[in-house]
Amino acid sequence: MLLEKYFDQEVTDTERSLVDGHLPDCPACREVLDSMEELRTLMKAPVEEVVRKEDFPWVWQKIEREIGSQKKRTWWQSLRSWLDMTPLLKRKVWIPAVATFMVLLFITSQVIFKRTPSYPDGSVVEYVESQSDNVMVYQLEDPKVTVIWLFESPEEEATTT
C-alpha cells in the first residue's frame, strides 16, 4: 500500500525516507516497483498515440462556429424561441391575452391621462345671476377667497328683518 503511494508520489517526507531506506535491502519491493513502472509505460504509450492523432483545432473551430451562430440570432428569433418553450404558449394563447391587455391599457390610459383643462385662477366664478338684486364679484388671490355679494333691495330687506 505504502509502495503504491510511493510510486504515485503521494507519500509524506517521512514515508519517503522510510521507503528509500528500505528499498536497497528488499529485492521483493524493488521488483514490485519495477513492475509498476512497466505497467505505466504500457498504458501511457497508446494514450499518447490517440491524443497525437486527434485533431483538436478542428474541434475548437466547431465550438466557435456554434457560439457564433447563437450570437447572430435576432431579438425576434429569441422571443419566438422563448415563447415556444412553454406548451401553453405554443397553443397561441398569448395572442388574445396580449390583445385584451392592449384594449384595457388603451381604455384606462384614456381615463387616467385625460387632460384636465387648466382654468386660469382668475375665473373661479363661471356665472352669477340674480332675478331681483344686484350682485358684485370680488376675488383675492392671497388669501384665495372669492366673494359674491348680493345687494338686497330695501323692500326685500324689510320682509326678512
Binding site: V124, Q131, Y138, K144
Partner: protein
C-alpha cells in the same frame, strides 16, 4: 375562448368605471356666518377665517350660525336651511382632478335670489354674502375637501 376574453374585458371595464364613480365625491364645508357691527365678538370657531373676513369686510362681529359638512356626488344636490326663510342648494356639477364645479342657489320663498356656478379648488374659499339677517348680514362660506 373569444367569449371568455370578452367577459374578462367587460368585467375590467365595469369595475374600473364603477370605482371611478364611487371616488367622484367631494366634501364641502359650508358655514353660515352672521356679520354685523353690533359688538366686537368673533366666534372662536371662525378663527381660521377671521383674518380673511377682516381684510375683506368692515364688520366688527362675526358669529357662526350654522356649520354643515356636505358629501356631494355629481348631480345630487343638497339643500340646507341657511337661515329663516332661505335655503341654499349646492350641486356638484363636475369634478375634474382638483377642481370641483359647484352650482349654488340661494332660494327665498321658492325664488332664486342668487344662482351661481363656481370652480372650487382645494384651499380656496367662496364667500356668498349680502342677505340681511337681524342687525347684520349673512355670509355663506364654502370650501371643498377632495
Amino acid at each position: 375562448m373569444r367569449r371568455s376574453v370578452f367577459l374578462l374585458t367587460a368585467f375590467f371595464v365595469f369595475s374600473f368605471f364603477s370605482t371611478s364613480t364611487a371616488l367622484a365625491q367631494i366634501q364641502v364645508r359650508m358655514r353660515v356666518i352672521q356679520a354685523s357691527n353690533a359688538g366686537q365678538n368673533v366666534d372662536p370657531s371662525l378663527k381660521d377665517v377671521h383674518h380673511e373676513l377682516g381684510s375683506l369686510f368692515s364688520f366688527t362681529s362675526y358669529r357662526l350660525l350654522r356649520e354643515e359638512s356636505l358629501r356631494l356626488s355629481p348631480n345630487q344636490p343638497a339643500t340646507i336651511t341657511a337661515h329663516p326663510g332661505r335655503f341654499l342648494e349646492v350641486n356638484l356639477v363636475e369634478l375634474k382632478r382638483d377642481v370641483a364645479k359647484l352650482r349654488v342657489r340661494v332660494i327665498r320663498e321658492g325664488k332664486d335670489i342668487l344662482d351661481t356656478q363656481v370652480r372650487l379648488s382645494p384651499g380656496r374659499t367662496v364667500l356668498i354674502g349680502g342677505p340681511r339677517h337681524g342687525e347684520g348680514v349673512v355670509i355663506y362660506a364654502l370650501s371643498a375637501r377632495f
